[in-house]
């Protein structure tokens, strides 16, 4: 039996990044590191800020795609800490920017995040990257 795919909004994540660290051309591609120095996230079930100290490791490949590898710490407005990572792919020629976030937390109120898979739709805006993250139901 085929189970249909349904999703619902989890959060909108806005990231503030500082000057990039350009590692350059490596055997894996062209690596650019975007340090994350802040940001915010907001959804019906959780909201708060992105702590400084994370980053996104972004590799541009020869086929025109870019892969992402992000890790950040989220702090909810009631002081819960959530470790968040995502990998993703960006294909600017096709306006495609999608990520697969994962969450890890010890806070019981947010433990539902440990048990879900999610998809993010990314956008590059003048103020920085914005990710519309949906829970896969």
């Amino acid at each position: 039996m085929s189970v249909p795919i349904h999703s619902r909004p989890l959060m909108v994540l806005r990231l503030t990044t500082s000057a990039t660290q350009d590692i350059g051309s490596t055997p894996q591609g062209t690596l650019t590191i975007f340090p994350v120095i802040g940001g915010s996230f907001e959804g019906e079930r959780l909201r708060g800020k992105v702590l400084a100290g994370g980053g996104d490791w972004v590799t541009a490949h020869g086929d025109g795609t870019v892969t992402l590898d992000l890790r950040v710490t989220l702090e909810t407005d009631d002081e819960g800490l959530i470790h968040m990572t995502f990998t993703g792919v960006r294909d600017d020629a096709n306006h495609y920017f999608r990520t697969v976030p994962r969450f890890e937390t010890a806070v019981p109120k947010y433990a539902f995040l440990n048990r879900l898979v999610a998809v993010g739709i990314g956008e590059i805006r003048p103020e920085g990257p914005v990710h519309l993250i949906e829970e896969i139901l």
Binding site: M1, S2, V3, D91, V100, N114, R115, V117
Partner: protein, 150 residues
Amino acid sequence: MNTRLLMTMHVKVGTPLNIGAVPHGTRRTAPLDGGTFEGPRLRGTILPGGSADWLLLRSDGVLEMDLRFTLRTDDGALISMRSFGLRHGPPEVIAALGRGETVDPTTYYFRTMPRFETAHPAYVFLNRLIAVATGDRRPEGPIYTIHEVL
């Protein structure tokens, strides 16, 4: 979020190996002995050897899956597929699955996030997409319905 069907995959699971209690939970591995996949844009078989599932039952009752497959399309292309997945549900449903019963797949959560790698020009679109799959654990092996995230 918009999606479209990429393929339906029927997987044959071999005899699992119980690694046992590890620091993060209970580890088991299962060889994937074959199977088939079929969708509007590709179809073929799962190659045994190099296809397996590394399973971790976490202390919170969630089963984490780390799947690797090698796919061969009907026109001879090789595609490497890796997925991360989660499975959990009410204890009685998970117990029924454990006994090898057929269970309504809407009564538990079984979702995976496949990624693909291929060098074959006809299938390079797979290198550029994110996908989501729903799973249906049958006694003979799982059925994955894989959707491309548009």
